[in-house]
Structures are given as structure tokens and as C-alpha cells.
Amino acid sequence: MAQCVTAFKSMLQARLLEEKLASLYRAGGRIVGGVYIGKGQEAFSAGLAVHLEKGKDVYGPLIRDQAGRLAFGEPLLDTFRTYLGVITGPMRGRDGNVHRGRPREGMPAMISHLGSLLSVVNGMLFARRLQGRLGDSVGATSLGEGGTSTGAFHEALNQAAIEKLPVIIAIANNQFSYSTPNSRQFACGDLLDRARGYGVQGYAVDGTDLTACVSVFSEAVKRARAGGGPQLVVGSLLRLSGHGEHDDSSYIPDQVKSSPLGQDCLPYAESQLKASDLITDEEVRKWKDEFLMEIDAALAQASKEPTPDPFRENWRALSTAGLVEGQFEA
């Protein structure tokens, strides 16, 4: 239950952080590119990551995993530095927003092509096992329900099952992929029905309910650590935002928005945890203040840092400097 509190704090922090990012986006000028947030999906995201140990486990977050990133221990600064594109960040202005990561520290940096991260996480675990240093570490990654339609995801999930890799796959079924409703994305009753076809353990969870998420992922992570192979967790929820901040999500019917799927996981978690006397109003207020200060400080810090300079950029895509050619142009 301590994990619920930790997860809640990451959720709160993520919400505040993403509100800041969204407002910077709306203000224009400072954020480079788009802003994609995870509002409404924080419980499901943090509910997984809170069980992972940085330095030991692998975590491959996707587009709506700000809360999970924070729960895993990604520094706030990495977020701002990436969104602002400054060279001090992990992506050094070369790639942006949700694509950030630190692969050698167990956090691969997603590419845009949906479904293609799972096999990379598989490979990290596979290599560790070969090297005899897997121990009881696990890997975890997430994907929207739309991403399950990619061939890449299928191949990778099947691969994980064959190799019996300790990987937890969190499918955030938020009912829409961009504007596309589930009826145009798959035809099975429940994505959970897929688990059996891969020979992996499956779990369903109300993705708006933090305590449910924390406990389902706790079980899934435990089984993966114990050698139970891949664990597929499908959470039902809604994103409470546009696909990106440019999108008003008007295609989501009001009826869906006002259904239980549309419950906002953050106030719900707050009330749950308060009801269980795990947190107090005062604590929440204090955390909020702290987080806002940290957010402002991180933003201020990142804002001071240098943006990339094309003349100082080395412009090389190979790590072997000797093999880099000139620009082949006369």
C-alpha cells in the first residue's frame, strides 16, 4: 500500500508537469514540436512503474507514460530538457518529447513507429540472461490498444513468449487510437482474449482505479520475476485529453466521456487513499506545492541551457568516427 502512495505522488506530479507542458504549448514559442500527455492514464502508468527498480529493471515507456517515468525515477529535468530541445538533455535536441530515454540506464528511447519497442525490451532481457546477469530483473513496456494492431507488436509478443522473457506489457485500452474507435481497431470481445493465443498470462484491470492497478501490476511483476514469462495487462480507461495538445478529442462521444471509463483516476485515487488514511489533505497540498516548485525550477533550469548549435554539432550518425563521410557533395 505504500506503493499506492508512491504511485499517487507520481500521478500528481505528472499531472502538474503535463499541465505545465500543455500551457507552454498553448503559449507557443518555447516547446519544440507537439505535446502528448497522459491525463487520465496516470494510475495505469504509475501503477506499473512503481514496481520497477531503476538500475535493475528495464522500463520502456510509451507516449502516455509521464507518470510511469516519474515513478521509475526519470528526472524532471529530462522532460523539460527534451521538450525544450536543449543540448544538456538526453536527446540533445536531436529527438524530442516522448521519445526521450537513456537506454544504457534501462530506459530505451521509443521511436514513433508503434509496436516496435517491445522487441527491443525483449532483446535487453535476452542479452542479460545470456550474460548471466538477468537475476530477477524484469522489463516492462506499454502500448495503446491501437498499437496492438501492428505486426511489430505481434511478432515481439510472440517472441517474448517463446523466449519466456520476464516482461510486463501494459496495454492501455483508452478506447480510441487517435480518433479511431475500438470497433475499427479489433473485433475480439476483449484484448485480454489475446493473451491465451500467445501463451502468456493475462490480466484485466480498471485503469482508472489506482489501487486496482497497483495490485494487478504487483502480481504481474512478481510472476515475471519468478520466471513466469510475459505478463499482459489490459487496462480500460479513457484519455482525458486530446491525442496531442493540438487535438480537442471532440470525436469521443459525451456518453463515453461520462461513462465509468471517463473517471479521472487522480481525484479518485486521492479520495481512495484518503479514505484509507494513507494520505491527508495536508500532505497532498504540500506535495502539490513541492512539485510545482520543482517543476518551475526544472523549467527555469532547462530554459537557461543552450539549444543546439548547428556549427558545433558533429553531424554524425555513426559511433565510429573514422567511417563517417563528408557530405558527398562537391
Binding site: 519544440v32 514540436g33 507537439g34 530541445g85 536527446m91 535536441g93 536531436r94 529527438d95 524530442g96 521519445h99 521511436i111 514513433s112 513507429h113 508503434l114 509496436g115 491501437g146 498499437g147 494492431s149 501492428t150 505486426g151 511489430a152 487510437s177 487517435y178 480518433s179 479511431t180 475499427r184 481497431q185 479489433f186 470525436y251 539549444t307 543546439p308 548549435d309 548547428p310 554539432e313 553531424w315 554524425r316 550518425a317 563517417v324 563521410e325 557530405q327 558527398f328 557533395e329 562537391a330
Partner: protein, 321 residues
């Protein structure tokens, strides 16, 4: 009433749907939502039952289109971004592109690739993929640079009995406007001289046409008359128009936004130097993007691709020779 490049693409699809009962559209978020860029806005309302949302399955999207073409349909596939067409790559180059040659069955499909860089879009939403597809036999690769070409060439693409990779440039979507769409002028496969000149030729296509024109205008101030050739279609490539221009100017710079190794600019220069060697008064030059993924930060992005200023610099070097 003016029309943007993006609107022209919508209008062309409207017209294709209106005039060809065999046309249908298939792509992610293109039905009720009208597409990530709104290139199919309202079309699902205007043509009920002919515009379909696809799952996130680029391979199956292309496969379905090929099957439909076998049955006489003329599908238009929208890739949400050109970059995601790598996930449908196999069906494009091995299924669609070989169908006619292998089985004598024509394959009239059009695959729309929202292509090219815009500031802040980064490595996976900015790619120019014309050279990849042009390398494979059996495909026609179109790269419209103007509002009118966006309109007419898309209609031409739909009418062609062969698979067309339609590389529409996202940077031009909103930036480029025309007062109206005139008559169809050039057929597919013909390049256009967009600016006559006599001191040097710039051969280019898509968004780089506009950067090149700006560079040419700059050089005009110094008294240089630069001819700008818009390829329009990179495969087939209108070698005749290129050579005729080089015959007039004696100098060629080929400019492309794609990665530098191989591709359109190499093909152009190889053809020119093979076929018009004696017409050249100076070594042919080319200018491409840099040989790294496309950077996210605008500072880097602006240096990664050619711009009017780097094109101008290259032209000055070419003219000095």
C-alpha cells in the same frame, strides 16, 4: 477564393471519388475525423461508405489495396506520415510493385505519403522517402511542388493503372496557396521549367523548388539568371527536359531534401554526366540533407536540409567555377 496545397489534395480526392465509382479511401483516422492533416475532411460524409478508417496496420493497408485493385478498384491509401510507410514497405515494393510484371494484372493504387520536414517534427515525422521507392521497379513516384500539381497529379495518380507513391510535402500543406486551379497542363512524367535562366540550372522537386526559386531570386540581384527545373515526377524522370536545360546553361546543381547517399540527386547527376557530359561547363553539383536522422530542434533542422541560403551558396560556387 484561394486554395492551399492541402486543400488541393482534399479537392482532388473529392473529384476522384465523384468521378470514379471505383475509388475508395483507406487510412488511419481518415473517415469521420478527416485525417491527421484533414486531407480527407468531410469526404466520409460526402461519400458515405467509401472512406474507411484503417487499423494501425500499414502492411495490411497496402495488401488490402492491392487485392482491391485486382478486383478493379482504385484505392487511395493515406499513410498518416510517410515515415510509417516503412511498416508497409514489403507490401509496396514486393506485392504492389511486382503485380503487373508477374501476372499481367495492373495495380492502380495510390499511396499518399505526407512527406518531408517541418520544424520540430523530428526523425520519424519528417522523412522524404521517394528515393527508396524509386529504386524498386514497378512504381511511379510523384513529388508535386505546387498547389495545381498537388491537385492534378493526384487525379492523374488515381487514373494511372500503376501503383503510385504520391509524396506530398507537409511543409507546403498550409504555406502554399493558389488563387485557383487552372487546367491540367503537363502529363505525368514531364518536368516543368518554373523559372527560365541561362547561367545555371537547378534541378529539384517538392518543397525544395521553393527554396531554389528564392535562391535564384537572390542571385538575380547579382545579375545571374538561374533556371529552375521542377521534376514533378522523380520516376519516371524527365531526362530530356533536364538535358535541354543543361544544354542552355552548361551548369547544374541538383537539390533534394532527402538523405544524401544515392537517391534523386545522385540519379539526376549520374544521368546528366553520362548523357550530357559535353554540355557541362563545370562539374555538376548536388545538395541534399545531411547524413544523419532528421533533427527535432529547429536550429538543427534548418541546417540539416538545404535552404535558399545554402542553395545560393552552392550556386555561387557553381558559377565561380
Amino acid at each position: 477564393m484561394s486554395m492551399t496545397y492541402l486543400e488541393a489534395i482534399r479537392e482532388a480526392q473529392y473529384e476522384a471519388l465523384r468521378t470514379h465509382p471505383s475509388v475508395f479511401l483507406y487510412g488511419q483516422d481518415i473517415a469521420a475525423f478527416g485525417g491527421a492533416f484533414k486531407a480527407t475532411k468531410n469526404l466520409s460524409k460526402e461519400f458515405p461508405g467509401r472512406v474507411f478508417d484503417a487499423p494501425i496496420s500499414e502492411d495490411a493497408m497496402v495488401g488490402l489495396a492491392v487485392g482491391a485493385a485486382i478486383e478493379g478498384a482504385r484505392p487511395i491509401i493515406e499513410m498518416q506520415f510517410a515515415d510509417f510507410s516503412t511498416c508497409g514497405f514489403n507490401q509496396i515494393v514486393n506485392q504492389a510493385a511486382t503485380l503487373y510484371w508477374r501476372t499481367n494484372t495492373s495495380c492502380p493504387i495510390t499511396i499518399r505519403l505526407p512527406s518531408g520536414g517541418t520544424a520540430g517534427s523530428g526523425p520519424f515525422h519528417s522523412q522524404s522517402m521517394e528515393s527508396l521507392y524509386a529504386h524498386y521497379p514497378g512504381l511511379v513516384i510523384l513529388t508535386p511542388a505546387t498547389v495545381e500539381d498537388a491537385y492534378w497529379m493526384l487525379l492523374d495518380a488515381v487514373e494511372l493503372d500503376d501503383p503510385v507513391i504520391f509524396c506530398e510535402h507537409k511543409f507546403l500543406y498550409y504555406h502554399l496557396k493558389a488563387d485557383q486551379i487552372g487546367e491540367r497542363t503537363l502529363p505525368i512524367g514531364k518536368a516543368r521549367i518554373v523559372r527560365p535562366g541561362r547561367h545555371a540550372t537547378v534541378v529539384t522537386y517538392s518543397a525544395m523548388v521553393h527554396e531554389s526559386i528564392r535562391a535564384a531570386e537572390e542571385l538575380q540581384k547579382d545579375g545571374y539568371q538561374i533556371e529552375v527545373v521542377d521534376l514533378r515526377s522523380v520516376k519516371p524522370m524527365d531526362t530530356d527536359t533536364i538535358l535541354a536545360s543543361v544544354a542552355r546553361t552548361g551548369r547544374i546543381l541538383c537539390v533534394g531534401e532527402a538523405f544524401p547517399w544515392g537517391g534523386v540527386t545522385a540519379e539526376v547527376i549520374a544521368r546528366v554526366s553520362s548523357e550530357a557530359f559535353h554540355l557541362l561547363d563545370a562539374p555538376p553539383m548536388r545538395l541534399n540533407a545531411k547524413d544523419t536522422p532528421i533533427p527535432y530542434h529547429p536550429n538543427l533542422w534548418k541546417s540539416h536540409r538545404p535552404t535558399s541560403s545554402s542553395i545560393g551558396d552552392a550556386l555561387r560556387r557553381l558559377l565561380r567555377y
